[in-house]
Symmetry: C2
Amino acid sequence: MQTLTALIFDNFETLDLFGPIEMFGSLPKHFRIQLVSMTGGIIHNHHGVSLHTSAVTELEHQTDILLVVGGKGTRQVIEDHRFLQTLIKLSDDADWVLSVCTGSALLAKANILDNKRATSNKLAWQWVVEQSNKVDWVQQARWVVDGKFYTSSGVSAGVDMTLGFIADRHDIDTARQIANYTEYRWQEDSQLDGFYNC
Amino acid sequence: MQTLTALIFDNFETLDLFGPIEMFGSLPKHFRIQLVSMTGGIIHNHHGVSLHTSAVTELEHQTDILLVVGGKGTRQVIEDHRFLQTLIKLSDDADWVLSVCTGSALLAKANILDNKRATSNKLAWQWVVEQSNKVDWVQQARWVVDGKFYTSSGVSAGVDMTLGFIADRHDIDTARQIANYTEYRWQEDSQLDGFYNC
């Protein structure tokens, strides 16, 4: 059993979080999910979602997989030194670090992606790459893997990346079964990017 | 501005709810979102999600669009007379009623889909159709429209249906812009169903 910790914040992007959660949650014998925030309590977003979270200082289980999501709220937390320090600590402790959309901007700002290949959201691309020039940014990719880091492009790409991660850790048949169960049209090729220059 | 009311319950399927919420939430000038449950308070599901909801008896805004999701929890609420009566009242009041996955089983059980064409989740198909023989069940469809009712097949199909609904109410370019913004590979044809007999 591995523990996935998703670190969220106000105005996170809804599907950045819940797409991967649906896919990891489809293997309850393999993955346990912890939704956490800096102080715990209710986290709100701009889609009317109010989510109960635990405090990152009181994690019930050690983090094996860290999930970092994006959204409008990244513009605030990227200026928050304590948030970035927490990201560094969680990333160091985790075996795997996954980001969706502008979540990779947060990792980049905290220097966690230095000298790594990574991708991000297309529409926020300029803002993302301005956060660090030490990252080898890859604009044309559904998701990018470099060592223990999996970074996906915008929103829905997080679902494809999660299934890719599950295929890498288990096997492709397991990932395809989840896609079938959730009637999800999984794009299995991480390099095929229909949203590049679209 | 139209109000979307999503009626949820313990052990709802994560993506059934949050896929459509992401898409409706992308047009904040057009859609306001209310997440409600029978008694209000925190609703939990099997993916570790704890969501704050308002009580259905204390709706802030009148419901224009009702969203009914599915998941394991349907097996309990389908036996709950008060829940089904609430579904009937909300459906009567709404201009549009949308269901995802086994959400259509709940509508069927409450006789809301009598003499309507509707679809549902593939893997729970037998259980769904046993809930009512008065519905014209369509097994091969990404989603089905009949009058004010939009029903989708399993989990991820709810996203395609929501974009289809937005295209019908606004225009296809608006729906395509949302798909592009969220880097979602929208399957625009409601009749194309890659999960039929797969």
